[in-house]
Symmetry: C3
Subunit: 338 residues, 3 copies
């Protein structure tokens, strides 16, 4: 039997994703115990984490398993990601070898690898997590790569269902926000895909120049349509964008066209601090009570105002909690619990 | 039922503390197994640790639970602690959100946060650990804050009882020592509170200028008196201080009046290297066999001489061991084990 | 009963080592479950790790125990290793105290401490791991010191047996390789000792100036002879060395005579980049199919070419896997599982 990875949600069929979400709901209700006894998850964090680390460690433990945390370049050896590299520089171990070895110690691997380098054409291939999957004999879970954050995507889908009942046809606005740094596009792409999978009406609101990768936009549109939703249009005005929204998913990301040029990008971004979800803007959402989502960590009073985050519309902590439940379901599914 | 935090020992009644210590004794005897099955402790370390981390991890494990270790600014996101901050700087996640999220993943939180900043009036409020407690829906344990180290305090109280039988009326000398850095006052305050709670006769020996926060001194006095002990007086001579002591608790701390001014404080401290517990001084304690205590880590031959630490009077390793037992008792108490 | 440490393999008798390896084989077959319930391993990493950390954590977990990871100078206090030091500098805790305290929290300790300092006469005494063993009341496992990597040695011995059937008399070539840094001699010494213990014919191939410590060479010779093998000779030509080899164990190490002088050593090493295991050289091994071993992490295309590492001769991942099994056996043996 060939192994199953979880690199992107779209690699799995809609039915499989629905089944995962249904399992996550049962897990959340406390209906499922055990199933991961004597199982080990090895997590490779090339970037920091709070939710991912804690929720995966808790997930393994709650079902009888154990998670090991590795941090290449800190507690563990710095990893070389270039195929065929002549390794006479500062990297100590090749992803190939790390993946093969961890596949012998663990039953499943998790990999977090944010974008590095300056060439989006290369970075968009998500080679680090894909090479881990290629060289490990055990399943690999993407714990956020350059292109996707599929566990966040599942948690967001679960949250949309819980909060909206049937999300079909409801209006989901992905709203860009200013941020002091150029962030990856993995979360905004994944969040819009979550809404698309729920058959929602998708709006993407961002300043000109902040288009997502065209392949991602096309995929969001295709999935929305296939699941009974709609890709409405793209807006470049934050006031207009939120009008009538059932959900505003706030997130910052960097301009892909200036990928790897942080100074140029920062200058381009400079005039856009008004892109922020304020209490005033929240009033324009459906009945003034649209849901506010964010993957966290959030820059308070920069992306979203305190009054919004601390008010009744915010479901950001529920999204974070659902990370735990969807990951428990995912691990049970991947490790073929009885 | 409202949740219970453990931020300071004095937040709990004397009877509750006695009950905790009694439970710790039973735990140490091996009378209690289990009780933390499927329970998760999330520990947030904003500062380093050896004893706290190892003993809490072991404590959870020994009763069937699991501890997750998070290090903001290293493996995890750097935390913003200022309420209402406009987060356009280097901190990535607000304590508010971290506390809320961890409260969803874990059953209890631990927080270590040493003093930061330059204004003692602000720092003495212990806002970080208190905000974790305020925003988390789960109990929060103070793993050492600017003002208190309550787990050390419990371990020290347990050690005093074990070594002295009935400590009431016996002489406890908190002796300042020189150290290359200006250290926090959390441990000396907590140690004196532990002795006060045991009804001991308390002496604080320190150079002029090294007074503890007046609120702490008043509290030590009040508790000593309430528990049948006495706050004798403050001395500023290390030779005189140790005479007739049943216990010498050695500890360095910085001058509160120069808090946040390390260079000024270092100059003020410069002439005080003679404040050290030597074998010679140990001879002046009761029958030359007074107990020597220290919370560890200790600067050998700077705070206490090798001959003292490696001799029969030293109970520093027993204190450290008791951290494990009191924390097991605390976790069992907070998580309401069946 | 006095405690048992595992600092070097040669501290244990040949029969004890054989028994450990036999137990490891049973463990690998899945014949042994449990045995470490309620047991805690405290691992002190003064240097990075991937295999050691993951395999020990998994080992403890798989038998019901738990491993705690400590990193002095990072998550934990920086350690002083000098006996009698007046600790008024940057180190915060003495090994003596760390060892004593961890011995109270854990049932067994692991210590990784690579060579530090500039004087090989001092460094070769392996004082850090030996002081941990001396001051801890619990067994100490050497997770790689200046002189030895005994867990790697056991894993290599197990791999030799698995792959060669009876290794007696077969030709084991320890081949030096160029590397951008001067690495420790612990692994090459341990690898040759593993082969010697299996009664193999040992060849050490290295450029002049890259002799191992004479005591290690003498020990390799003595053990090889005692176990029915032979210490053939030392070669200084990589082409000649591999001819007819049953096993080529590739490893880089620094010139001991320039220990602590990295720039001088680097200049001395400069002309030696040709010392690399290429596919061409592999053809000269026995029937062109000699086994290729390396402890990992390996510098690809610097120590060993991709074509060799990714080809059928390489058993490097099996060696790494065997780390898990020998350590499970070692822990079961040290903790005297019922």
């Amino acid at each position: 039997m060939s192994k199953r990875d979880f690199i992107t949600v779209e690699d799995w069929s809609g039915e499989e994703v629905d089944a995962l979400l249904a399992l996550a709901t049962r897990v959340k209700r406390g209906e499922i115990t055990g199933g991961l006894e004597r199982r080990v998850l090895a997590m490779v964090f090339m970037d920091p984490s709070l939710r991912t680390r804690t929720s995966f460690e808790a997930a393994m433990f709650l079902h009888g398993g154990h998670a090991v945390v590795l941090e290449p370049g800190k507690s563990s050896w710095s990893l070389e990601t270039e195929p065929g590299a002549v390794m006479d520089g500062s990297t100590v171990e090749h992803v190939k070898d790390a993946a093969r070895v961890l596949g012998r110690y663990a039953d499943v691997l998790g990999v977090r690898s944010f974008p590095r380098g300056t060439d989006w054409k290369v970075v968009r291939e998500d080679r680090v997590v894909r090479d881990f999957a290629r060289f490990s004999e055990k399943p690999v879970i993407n714990m956020e790569s350059s292109r996707r954050h599929p566990c966040q995507q599942l948690a967001d889908a679960m949250t949309l269902r819980e909060k909206l009942g049937d999300p079909t046809g409801k209006r989901f606005v992905l709203m860009w926000a200013w941020h002091p740094k150029a962030l990856p596009t993995a979360v905004p792409a994944s969040a819009a895909l979550a809404a698309a999978h729920q058959g929602m009406e998708i709006v993407i609101a961002r300043p000109d120049g902040y288009e997502l990768d065209p392949e991602d936009t096309a995929l969001i549109r295709r999935i929305a349509q296939a699941r009974g939703g709609e890709f409405v249009h793209i807006m470049n005005d934050p006031d207009e964008a939120v009008v009538g929204a059932d959900v505003v998913y706030v997130k910052s990301w960097g301009a892909v066209k200036y990928f790897g040029q942080p100074e140029t990008e920062a200058a381009f971004r400079a005039g856009l601090r008004d892109w922020r979800l304020t209490a005033q803007r929240l009033k324009s959402t459906r009945q003034g009570r649209g849901l506010v989502m964010h993957c966290l960590p959030v820059r308070r009073n920069v992306e979203i105002d305190d009054a919004v985050l601390d008010g009744p519309s915010s479901v950001v902590v529920d999204e974070a909690e659902n990370r735990l439940h969807v990951q428990r379901a995912l691990l049970l599914e991947l490790l073929g619990a009885r």
